[in-house]
């Protein structure tokens, strides 16, 4: 392929961050414009890649490979297949929306946009990396900017922003520590000393050739599960996500909820399932159990929250429970449902955070008792809230419906008890979302909000951008599903072979 699309998508934000470094501090407008331009370029290229992706052929496309550290077997190799392409699209769309939603940052705008662009580059890198080394490298690149951005531009509500920044970073680093051990043992276990490599395709080949014993796979999968689980806010490791989001500035919580959590899910599928199928099958009942707890527990916690961002934090933990449930059922239908749900939740959560961010930016209020009757003065924000709220409730015609139904269809056969409880989750989700919408948006007029004007000009762009995808993928799910299907289809022989593998406690409920 002539033009290296993926490298440009990866490096455009990074190069622009470098360019911004040399701009003077006062030229806020130029900085914003450049940041938006770079993200615009990246998004257009991703859209082109998404359109040009040949679903019939499937497999890795737009691949680029430059050997980097040959004796370690590390190569700068990028590539996109049915699973990572939707994630890449998600990253760029949310990245662009987050740039627009942090349009009127006054305090140190230059540093903010540099860190934001570095963050987006890191996240993009993790999704398109075909090489574990690059995957880890980009993942570590992500953690630092987030910490700095939470510390400087964060907000101290129930918990001080230092605390939430610290908690966020330490949890992610602890997770990545487990993941690192897992990946290194994968690297060592896959091939003998001579031909060791970090390339994911090769690792998949190794596991299919049976280089890794059953116990090895079970243990390494547990390590990866701890790493990716804490990223995906699985039950015991979920406590960072509500605090993290509440403390973070709008753009960071958008990217964090929207995309960073999905790295956990993507990693679980790419590394957990494809490379360690026996391990995945063994731990599947545990994941399903935790997922069910995830859904119900977070939904209940969201019920009693007072702060908007906390509700969305817990709701994202609850939705990740569905993704985990989809993954644990280990069949093509539920896994493609899980991936689609990740994309859906990404867009929905970032829309929610952009609207809350706007309200917080204007009124400096985020707790539900203070905000009432926003609909009178903020019609566009209300549309944003309603769209995101109804999507998270699973309204057909919006993005969340098809993935959720697919997960349920895939899971109810395998884990009936867990699935029924998780499905009961949709009632609770409806309860806390509608309760929030009712209290915040509707109700009698409140003169206090008269002084603030609604979104106009650039501030509406996040709503438009994410709204288009929310409704587009909702009314025509085939656009999203065909790509995901082509990514998950090659898994069918792998999953079929798993049917007789022993599982934890002899299979789930």
């Amino acid at each position: 392929m002539g033009f290296p699309i993926l490298s440009t998508v990866l490096l455009a934000p990074l190069l622009m961050a470098l360019v911004i470094c040399f701009l003077p501090r006062e030229s806020r407008e130029q900085i914003r414009m450049l940041a938006a331009a770079s993200m615009g370029v990246a998004t257009c290229l991703t859209l082109y890649a998404y359109a040009a992706y040949d679903t019939a052929a499937g497999g890795m496309q737009f691949t680029e490979r430059i050997p980097w550290v040959t004796d370690l077997g590390v190569s700068y190799s990028l590539g996109v297949d049915g699973i990572s392409l939707p994630m890449l699209l998600l990253t760029d769309v949310i990245g662009l929306a987050s740039v627009f939603s942090s349009w009127n940052i006054e305090k140190r705008a230059k540093e903010f946009f540099i860190l934001l662009l570095v963050l987006i580059t890191g996240v993009t890198g993790t999704f398109i990396a075909c090489d574990l080394f690059i995957f880890l490298l980009c993942y570590e690149v992500v953690v630092i900017p987030i910490y700095i951005m939470v510390l400087i531009w964060g907000s101290t509500k129930r918990v001080s922003k230092e605390y939430s920044g610290m908690k966020l970073t330490i949890f992610l680093l602890m997770g990545s520590a487990f993941m690192l051990v897992g990946i290194v043992s994968l690297y060592l276990g896959a091939y003998p000393a001579g031909q060791r490599t970090f390339d994911i395709e090769a690792l998949i080949m190794a596991s299919q050739m049976g280089h890794m014993s059953m116990e090895f796979q079970i243990l390494v999968f547990l390590l990866l599960l701890a790493g990716f689980g804490s990223l995906l806010s699985m039950f015991p490791f979920h406590s960072w996500s509500p605090d993290g989001y509440a403390g973070a500035p709008t753009a960071v919580s958008m990217i964090h909820a929207g995309v960073l959590k999905k790295i956990g899910g993507y990693g679980l599928i790419r590394l957990g399932l494809m490379v360690l199928p026996l391990g995945a099958k063994f731990w599947a009942p545990l994941i399903a159990g935790l997922a069910m707890i995830n859904v119900m527990y977070a939904a209940y916690c969201a019920m009693v929250q007072k702060d908007l961002k906390y509700i969305i934090g817990y709701s994202s933990v609850s939705h990740m429970g569905y993704v985990l449930l989809g993954f644990a059922a280990l069949n093509v239908v539920s896994i493609s449902g899980a991936i689609a749900n990740m994309v859906a939740h990404g867009i929905m959560a970032s829309l929610f955070f952009s609207q809350i961010g706007y309200v917080y930016e204007k009124t400096h209020m985020r707790s539900i008792p203070d905000l009432k009757g926003l609909a009178h003065y903020f019609p566009r924000v209300t549309i944003g809230f309603m769209l995101a709220g109804l999507a998270s409730v699973g309204l057909p015609g919006l993005i969340e419906f098809v993935p959720e139904v697919t997960i349920f269809m895939g899971t109810i056969g395998v884990y009936p008890f867990f699935a029924v409880l998780a499905i009961a989750g949709i009632v609770f989700t409806a309860l806390y979302i509608l309760r929030m919408l009712a209290k915040v948006l509707f109700g009698p007029k409140d003169e206090h909000f008269a002084q603030y004007e609604d979104q106009k000009g650039v501030e509406v762009l996040p709503l438009l951008l994410l709204g288009v995808f929310l409704i587009g993928f909702g009314v025509f799910p085939e656009l999203l599903m065909s790509v995901i299907d082509s990514g998950v289809q090659p898994l069918t022989p792998l999953l079929a072979a798993l049917s007789d593998v022993p599982t934890l406690l002899g299979g789930g409920l």
Binding site: Y300, C301, I426
Partner: protein, 632 residues
């Protein structure tokens, strides 16, 4: 022409959807333009559905071989979700009913919303509702029906909460959505079970697979699926346990109540049971459950309606009661009776709601019927239409209600007499509370402070049309052979069982006379009667405290449990995390003791190390000596 209509039936839901998009995005603020777009869209749909009706009557399409069109919606591995159109006489009838009532309600709301700033938004939501209801009617598989089912639920949430500045309205909207959502949860489970056992959700395919499956492995599993599926209609059509949201839904504007909570949405549950009748009719236990829930809800709602004071609330409970009738008809095995009653009920209930709208607007938002009086002089047309409605619902012969209700009573009589007696008692009470409503509101002397005046023309003409339909639909349906047209299994020929019909007419007249005595002639004071019944009256007036019970349940199981879990989350899980951090902290302070700057302290530590080394080497002296090769 008819072929064109059939193949383009998917236009019917699409047109109002386009209207919604156009109004929503562009003409929301311009009232006139958005009204025009909305009404024109729904009238186009009405025309197309007329053509469809013509095609169905003329053409080969019957209940057994419907016209089907399908398109792929989403494909995941082996699972294929598709959308499509399924036309059969039942669908055609429903299309006509929905489009007619929607058109008339939209015309009515032009007048009703004259000086309401949010009119554009109102018409947008009405169009969205119309498109999703029509989508539900023509759906070809369970998933499409479930999708539009939820969409209709959301539209009712948006429309009930239309006056969002009223706290009661937004709470009622939330309550409506949550209660129907609980019903949807059960239905979704049923659909999922169907999917994993039969691998498809398509009605026609299931029609062959389900009877075969039941014949092989008995009705055990399918009963569970049937009951789960029936939970959806209980939620949506306001049957007994989940009926609480319907009376509160009266918070919405009256056209909304007329369209959604009388004619269309609430009958979606009945329509689902009708559409999936091949599953339910094969399961005797489920049929029994449906019949008894329907019968009980009818009786239960009628007892409450008798003592209610607000105009629209009486109509709401009467809707629940009539829906109970339809479920009863389905439960006793007569799809024709239920669908026929659905059609006639849609017309006269919409008529009465619109009259209620006119009356309440005239009395500038005063809803309590005991504060109205003698409106028959001030609002003659409304009074005439209201009378027609009351006579129709009471089942007085020439009007629609008589034919459809008696068909249900006849069907019920064949199956089980207790059900018939329950239905007859409900018929008596219906006649009584409707007459009470009419006499209290329209008869008696005119109050001086009542500003009532006749409504403007936009609101009057739909009333008249509906009144005509309320009169003719019964007779036309009966004599034109609704039975041969919409049936399950064998075509049911129309006949009137004079015994049942006669007894129900007599009951109705007795009820009218009783109501006249109490409320017009004031022979017995209603207050005294209510005192004598004491407990019964209090129970009925407070709606058997079902709402309070649900609030208690929600408080304990949702709010308190949520608070407990959140406390657990903060204390235990966060506690562990913070504890870990503190642990590392104080571990480090153990080592700071060794670095306090005093040289001697460092020397002491140094020598401890030396001693340890020397001691170690002494114990392992011999091995070390071998290592050194004994060169000392």
């Amino acid at each position: 022409m008819s072929e064109f209509a059939l193949t383009h039936a998917w236009l019917i839901p699409l047109l109002p959807a386009l209207a919604f998009v156009v109004i929503g995005l562009f003409t929301r603020l311009n009232k006139k333009l958005s009204e025009a777009i909305a009404v024109s869209a729904i009238s186009l749909s009405f025309l197309v559905s007329l053509c469809v009706l013509a095609a169905v009557i003329g053409g080969p399409v019957t209940m057994d071989n419907p016209f089907i069109q399908k398109a792929l919606w989403a494909k995941m591995g082996t699972l294929e979700l598709s959308m499509g159109v399924l036309i059969d006489p039942m669908t055609a009838m429903m299309l006509i009913v929905v489009t007619t009532v929607a058109l008339l309600v939209q015309v009515y709301s032009i007048g009703y919303m004259e000086h309401d700033p949010g009119a554009g938004r109102f018409f947008a939501f009405l169009s969205l509702f119309a498109s999703s209801m029509l989508g539900l009617v023509i759906s070809v598989n369970f998933l499409q029906m479930y999708a539009f089912w939820e969409l209709v639920g959301v539209c009712s949430y948006l429309l009930i909460g239309f006056y969002y500045y009223k706290i009661s309205a937004r709470e009622a909207a939330k309550k409506a959505f949550i209660t129907t959502r609980i019903g949807d949860f059960g239905m979704l489970l049923g659909i999922l079970l169907l999917q994993i056992t039969f691998g498809t959700l398509d009605f026609m395919e299931l029609k062959e697979l389900v009877p075969a499956y039941i014949w092989i492995s008995g009705t055990g599993f399918m009963t569970v699926v049937g009951l789960l599926l029936f939970i959806g209609p209980i939620g949506k059509s306001g049957q007994f346990p989940l009926h609480v949201w319907l009376p509160d839904a009266m918070e919405g504007p009256t056209p909304v109540s007329a369209l959604i909570h009388a004619a269309t949405m609430v009958v979606a549950g009945v329509y689902l049971v009708g559409r999936a009748y091949f599953i339910f009719s094969a399961l005797p236990t489920v049929m029994n459950v449906i019949a008894w829930i329907g019968g009980f809800t009818a009786f239960f709602a009628a007892t409450i309606a008798v003592t209610q004071r607000p105009f629209k609330r009486i109509l709401a409970y009467s809707t629940i009661s009539q829906l109970g009738y339809m479920m009863l008809a389905l439960g006793v095995g007569s799809l024709t009776a239920s669908m026929f009653h659905l059609m006639t009920h849609a017309f006269f209930k919409a008529l009465m709601f619109l009259c209620a709208g006119a009356v309440i607007e005239a009395m500038n938002e005063e809803a309590d019927i005991f504060k109205m009086g003698g409106l028959r002089h001030r609002m003659p047309t409304t009074f005439k239409c209201m009378t027609i409605g009351v006579l129709a619902i009471a089942g007085v012969p020439p009007f629609a209600g008589f034919f459809s209700k008696d068909m249900i009573l006849a069907a019920a009589a064949e199956v089980s007499t207790p059900l018939y007696l329950l239905a007859a008692a409900t018929a008596f009470m219906t006649a009584f509370y409707m007459a009470r409503l009419l006499f209290v509101a329209f008869f008696g002397e005119v109050r001086e402070d009542c500003p009532a005046h006749e409504t403007n023309s936009y609101m009057k003409w739909p009333l008249v049309v509906l009144a005509v339909l309320a009169v003719l639909s019964g007779a036309w349906g009966h004599f034109a052979g609704f039975g041969e047209w919409v049936y399950y299994g064998t075509a049911a020929e129309e006949h009137i069982d004079f015994m049942i019909a006669g007894s129900s007419v007599v009951l109705t007249f007795i009820a009218f006379a009783l109501a006249y005595e109490i409320y017009v002639a004031k022979r017995f004071s209603s207050y005294l009667i209510s005192q004598r019944f004491g407990i019964l009256y209090k129970l009925s007036y407070n709606k058997y405290y079902v709402d309070e019970f649900y609030t208690i349940v929600r408080n304990t199981f949702v709010d308190k449990l949520g608070a407990a879990l959140y406390w657990f989350d903060l204390r235990v899980i966060d506690g562990m995390v913070n504890g870990l951090a503190k642990g590392v902290g104080c571990l480090s302070c153990v080592f700071t003791v060794l670095q306090n700057g005093q040289a001697q302290r460092y020397a002491a530590v140094f020598y401890c190390g030396v001693i340890a080394l020397v001691a170690y080497s002494i114990f392992y002296a011999f091995r070390i000596l071998q290592l050194l090769g004994g060169a000392y």
